[in-house]
Symmetry: C2
Subunit: 320 residues, 2 copies
């Protein structure tokens, strides 16, 4: 599996995808088993090297995903190109003397799919397996207390007062102690803070209080994807990439809640969706939702031409 050094140091370019879906009340990500890690970490995102046969980056990504998982992708968007730090599992100096020669980049993508049929070795996992503290639908998760306690300890252990204040500020800003409260979009900032504090398994933490680990920097990519999606649903109708062709308003709301990790105010959510012109009624109703039968809706494509930023500005309410 290890190749001879190609000349001095031609960079290796990889492609990776955070493929997201929503089934029932759970947001999902498509994972594949990863072998050959130290300590046998087993989970990762679909990924593979950029090959000469790939006409474009995105086409190469689609090819890899189909090969590894059988899933064909719809909506695809480039996220970020990683390559700065933490690319090699062992960190600096793991590979011996000449470590600084070979660059290993990875171009990460976000993909949204409707159907969630797992194929081959792949599996759909809940997002919150990897980021348990990101799910606040049942209120502030209890594990957060232990986590922030350790973060505070890390801040206290700073080498000087200035750094201690800075760490404290970051904790407040990302985890919500500050006046601003919880901001569901700051997924990456929270993960990076936990990483720096040594609280994630990838950075040497003994347990998985901060979530299940992934191969190399895949969890960083996933965090980037979740943050981007949580932001984007507010000004682009991307949620509908995850919904079936017809759906009830209640189902739509539960998907949005699953993605954003917070509960929304029912009445206002319905009014918002309606008055934004994001959906239109169909003739059908369904009785499968529990109480009174609900009208089935569909996405209104025309909204793309009408509004500059059609989306679901979520407030922060928590009513039922």
């Amino acid at each position: 599996m290890r190749e001879a050094e190609p000349r001095a140091a031609a960079p290796l370019v990889g492609l990776a995808a955070a493929i997201l879906a929503a089934t029932l009340d759970e947001p999902r990500v498509l994972t594949v088993p990863v072998a050959g890690q130290p300590e046998g970490r087993g989970e990762g995102l679909p990924a593979g090297p950029l090959e000469p046969a790939h006409p474009t980056l995105e086409r190469g990504l689609r090819a890899w995903v189909e090969r590894q998982t059988g899933q064909s992708l719809g909506y695809v968007e480039q996220l970020y190109t990683f390559g700065d730090r933490n690319r090699r599992p062992g960190g600096e100096g793991a590979g011996g003397k000449g470590n600084g020669g070979q660059h290993a980049l990875s171009v990460a993508y976000l993909a949204l799919v409707r159907e969630a049929r797992p194929a081959a070795d792949s599996a759909w996992q809940s997002w919150y397996r990897y980021f348990p503290y990101e799910d606040r639908r049942a209120g502030r998760p209890p594990s957060l207390d232990a986590l922030t306690a350790r973060l505070e300890a890390w801040a206290e252990a700073a080498p000087n007062p200035e750094e201690r204040r800075r760490r404290g500020d970051r904790i407040g800003l990302t985890f919500g102690a500050a006046g601003s409260g919880w901001n569901e979009e700051r997924v990456l900032e929270r993960y990076e803070l936990l990483f720096e504090a040594g609280l994630v398994p990838e950075a040497g933490a003994p347990d998985s209080l901060a979530g299940q680990a992934m191969a190399v920097d895949h969890r960083r990519m996933l965090a980037t994807a979740l943050g981007r999606l949580r932001g984007k649903i507010k000004y682009r109708p991307v949620v509908f990439e995850l919904m079936p062709p017809v759906f009830t308003l209640g189902q739509l709301q539960r998907v949005v809640e699953a993605l954003s990790g917070i509960l929304l105010h029912k009445q206002n959510f319905r009014r918002l969706v309606a008055q934004q012109g994001l959906v239109e009624e169909t003739d059908a109703v369904t009785a499968e939702t529990g109480g009174r039968p609900a009208r089935l809706m569909r996405f209104r494509r025309e909204v793309l031409l009408e509004r500059p930023a059609p989306g679901l500005r979520l407030p922060s309410s928590r009513a039922g």
Copy 2:
């Protein structure tokens, strides 16, 4: 200068920077002369290949920029990794038979700097040299009429009615004919539309009605940078990366107007900045602005801890 093919097809990775500043009433971008293009196109962004000696992508970028322009960078943010299309100047098939072998990626960055001292061969150019139609501070620019006329002609020339409607929709959406009006953030979408319609020099247009050309895909990168910055000033206090330590509210407004290409309502702008807590007064005033001496202000760093998204939501007004 041309190297022997490294093995089969190791990808080439380049780094490029759109370095932005604001001087007087003009938004600026730092350019370097580019030789060796067909027809001698002369302008490009600072750029260079990723080298083994570069510890990270961003450090490599900073090194290249310093080497080429003498400019040291402050705020830096990754924009996008290009490599899909239009990377090779001549398009498909220009390099002969084995063209599909070697990938050429380019990781583009956005940088914001305060001082604008041109050094070495580099030069500060107005953004609107490359995108004249993006400057609406003096009202709708007259060149836009000719441009949209050609776009309409392109839409009419579509091979089938469906494609024609789609092209018409895109024109309306990006250039504002639709109900939504002009959206100053859609810089990239407008450039790509003009590119597809063959109206930019890079795509074979005979004149520069759609702006001055740049080397390879550098104008696409610049368009990405401008759109990103125009969006970001609304929810992050990035404008202050472009301002001197102290400034008047009028100067701040003129910089924001220069960046966004639209005029703002004076009184509301001042109120907005004040009530957001983005700035604080200093003791000093300056009489250099024309009429009544103005109070000098400075950026309030603490706002980062107080507000979830401190920025300058710009409306669309045009008052003085």
